[in-house]
C-alpha cells in the first residue's frame, strides 16, 4: 500500500532534482539563521550558492552529536521559539540530553512520513495500532502516535511497561498492529504465555519494530512466536524520530529511506571520505525539509549500505541494509542510548577514582540486560561486607538515576577484566 504515490514512486531523476532544490533552500536558510552552520561553512570555504549539484554536498563539514551538546539546548534551532510547537530530547553522555524542536510543519511532515511508513508495512484505516513505544521525551511514542492518526488508523497510546495490562488490552481491544522494540515484542509473547494466553491467536498481524539493533534470526523468532510479519523501522531523534526509513511488507529486505526529505551518504568512518555506491560504511543524513532544527551531514554512527537496485514494491526510494553496527561505542539497551563514558562518569562520582570496569550486555528472557563489572582496588576495598554492598548499591542506583535503566553491579578482582594491548575492552555485547 503506497500512501503518497506521487512522491514515493518519483523517478530517480526527478527525485534528484527535488533533493537539490530542497537542499539549496535548506542551506540558504541555515546559513542565514544558525551561527554554527554559518561559521562551519565559512571555515570550509563554501557558500550555500556554490552547492550546484548533490555531490557538492560533500564539500560541507559534518555535524556531530557533540555539536548538539556544545549548542545545548537551542543553539542549532533555525527558527525562533514562537515557531516551535514540540520539544523532544535523547540521552546524552554527560547527563545533558540533545534537544530537538519541531515547527507545526515539521510535525505535519513527520506524521506524514510515519503514516507513509505504516502504509509501507501494510497498515491502514481500520487497523488498531497498539503503540508500546515510550511516550515522553523519547520520540518513539508520540512519533508513531501522530503517524497513526494521520493514517486514519485507531491508535492505543499504551506507552511502555505494565506488560500484563498490555496483554489484556491487546486481546480485548483486538489490536492488529504492534509498535515497540523487538525485544519487548518477545517479552510480551512470553508474558502472555505465562498468563495462559497464546498471543499467536490474537488479532495481531504486523509488528513495526525498531529503536534497537536486531537480526534476521530474531525476526524469525518474533514472526513465529507472535504469528505476525515483523517490519524493521529506523529513525533517530536528531534527524526526526521514527519514520526516517522502513522496510516495505512486500520485500522485507532493506529499509526505504524517504529521499524526498533526506539525503543519505555512506562514508568511511575513519577518513570521512564518501564511499562508492553499495559499499558498507557510516550513514550520514542531511534533512532537506525540516524547519526547526535542520541537520546538515549528520553522522549517525550507524553502519549500513545503500541498496540502489529497484524494489519489487515500486517505490523509487533507495533502501538501507539492516544496520550492522555502530562506528562509535554507543549501546542501545532496552531502547535507551548508553555510552560507556556515562557509566564511567557514574563510577568516578561514586568511587572518586578512575575505575576499571566492563559492561556485559546480554539478553535474558528476551529483555536486554546490563551487568556492570567493577574491579575492586585497594582504594575502594573494605573488610566489611556492609560497606562493599553499599558501594555496589550506590553504583546501581546512580546508573538508574542517570540512564533510567536497571543493571546488575558485580564487584570483581583486579585484572579479571580482559585487557587487549593494554587497553581494556569496555563492552561485551552477547546479544548477537
Amino acid at each position: 500500500m503506497i500512501w503518497n504515490d506521487e512522491f514515493e514512486t518519483l523517478p530517480r531523476e526527478a527525485l534528484a532534482s527535488l533533493q537539490l532544490k530542497r537542499l539549496q533552500n535548506t542551506l540558504e536558510r541555515v546559513y542565514s539563521t544558525v551561527p554554527f552552520y554559518r561559521q562551519a561553512f565559512d571555515r570550509a570555504g563554501v557558500k550555500p550558492e556554490q552547492v550546484q549539484s548533490l555531490s557538492d554536498l560533500q564539500r560541507l563539514p559534518f555535524t556531530l552529536k557533540q555539536d548538539m551538546r556544545d549548542n545545548y539546548p537551542y543553539g542549532l534551532f533555525a527558527v525562533p521559539m514562537e515557531e516551535i510547537v514540540r520539544l523532544h530530547a535523547s540521552s546524552g553522555t554527560t547527563g545533558k540530553p540533545t534537544v530537538v524542536g519541531y515547527t507545526r510543519q515539521d510535525i505535519d511532515m513527520w506524521s506524514g512520513l510515519m503514516a507513509r511508513s505504516f502504509a509501507a508495512a501494510g497498515v491502514g484505516r481500520g487497523d488498531i495500532i497498539h503503540n508500546a513505544y515510550g511516550y515522553g521525551l523519547f520520540t518513539g511514542g508520540l512519533g508513531a502516535h501522530y503517524g497513526a492518526e494521520k493514517l486514519g488508523a485507531a491508535v492505543i497510546p499504551m506507552s511502555g511497561g505494565n506488560t500484563k495490562k498490555q496483554i489484556m488490552i491487546m486481546q480485548d481491544f483486538g489490536s492488529t498492529v504492534l509498535t515497540c522494540t523487538p525485544s519487548y515484542s518477545l517479552y510480551l509473547a512470553e508474558t502472555a504465555a505465562e498468563g495462559g494466553f497464546d498471543i499467536r491467536n490474537f488479532d495481531l498481524k504486523v509488528g513495526i519494530l525498531g529503536a534497537e539493533p536486531w537480526s534476521e534470526s530474531i525476526r524469525e523468532e518474533i514472526e513465529q512466536k507472535l504469528n505476525i510479519k515483523a517490519i524493521d523501522i529506523y529513525g533517530l531523534s536528531e534527524i526526526l524520530g521514527p519514520g526516517v526509513a522502513i522496510e516495505c511488507i512486500e520485500a522485507q529486505n532493506g529499509l526505504h529511506l524517504w529521499e524526498d526529505h533526506f539525503i543519505a551518504e555512506i562514508i568511511d568512518p575513519q577518513t570521512g571520505e564518501n564511499l562508492p555506491d553499495g559499499d558498507e560504511g557510516e550513514l550520514v543524513i542531511t534533512t532537506i525539509t525540516k524547519e526547526g532544527i535542520p541537520m546538515i551531514r549528520y553522522r549517525t554512527r550507524d553502519i549500513t549500505r545503500l541498496i540502489s537496485e529497484p524494489c519489487i514494491c515500486g517505490r523509487s526510494h533507495r533502501r538501507l541494509q539492516r544496520m550492522s553496527g555502530r562506528s562509535d561505542d554507543m549501546l542501545i539497551i532496552r531502547g535507551v542510548n548508553v555510552f560507556p563514558s556515562q557509566i564511567e562518569s557514574v563510577l568516578m562520582q561514586v568511587e572518586g577514582v578512575e575505575p576499571h570496569y566492563q559492561l556485559i550486555v546480554d539478553r535474558e528472557e528476551n529483555l536486554d540486560s546490563l551487568e556492570v563489572q567493577v574491579e575492586v582496588t585497594e582504594d575502594i576495598f573494605s573488610d566489611e561486607v556492609r560497606i562493599m554492598q553499599g558501594l555496589s548499591d550506590r553504583i546501581r542506583s546512580q546508573i538508574k538515576d542517570m540512564l533510567n535503566i536497571s543493571c546488575k553491579v558485580r564487584l570483581v578482582e583486579p585484572k579479571t577484566i580482559t585487557r587487549s594491548e593494554g587497553k581494556a575492552q569496555r563492552v561485551i555485547d552477547r546479544r548477537r
Partner: protein
C-alpha cells in the same frame, strides 16, 4: 593494644581461595585465625597471620586486593557464658561489633576471639575496665 588483620577480596570463583592460601604457605606465612564473609557475588577473607607485612606483600604481588585493619584479640573464658559476658559489657557501653571470629587454637582454658569494632580504643578501655584480657600482637603471634 590492637592486632593487625589482613583482609582479601575474593571473587566467587573456584580456586581463588586456594590460590590465596597457597601463596601465603609458599612464603612461609602461618595462618593463626580466619573468617570468610560471603555474599552471592564475592567473599572477604580475613586472616590473622604470624607475619602481616610479608603476607600483604605476597598477596598484592599475586594480584589480590588486600587491606590491613586493626582488630582486637580478646581472651575469653572457655566455659558457658564466656562470650556472653563480654558481649554484654559491649552492649551496655553501646559499642557496635562489626563482626567477630574465633582463633583456631585454645590457650589453656581460654579461647581467643577476634573482634572488629569501629572504635577499637573505646572497646579496649571498656573491656579491660571489666577485667577482660586483651591480647597484644606479640602475644597473638607467639601463641
Amino acid at each position: 593494644m590492637t592486632v593487625q588483620q589482613i583482609s582479601i577480596f575474593i571473587e566467587n570463583s573456584a580456586g581463588r581461595l586456594a590460590e590465596a592460601t597457597s601463596a601465603l604457605g609458599a612464603a612461609g606465612v602461618n595462618i593463626r585465625a580466619l573468617s570468610l564473609a560471603e555474599t552471592s557475588d564475592f567473599g572477604i577473607l580475613r586472616l590473622i597471620v604470624d607475619r602481616t607485612d610479608l603476607a600483604k606483600e605476597v598477596l598484592t604481588k599475586g594480584g589480590f586486593t588486600v587491606d590491613k585493619t586493626d582488630v582486637v584479640a580478646i581472651q575469653v573464658p572457655d566455659r558457658p557464658m564466656g562470650l556472653a559476658t563480654i558481649l554484654k559489657i559491649l552492649d551496655v557501653e553501646k559499642i557496635a561489633v562489626e563482626y567477630l571470629y574465633a582463633f583456631i587454637e585454645r590457650c589453656g582454658d581460654h579461647a581467643v576471639i577476634i573482634f572488629r569494632f569501629d572504635n577499637c580504643d573505646q572497646a579496649i578501655a571498656a573491656l579491660t575496665a571489666q577485667g577482660i584480657e586483651v591480647l597484644s600482637a606479640k602475644e597473638v603471634s607467639e601463641r
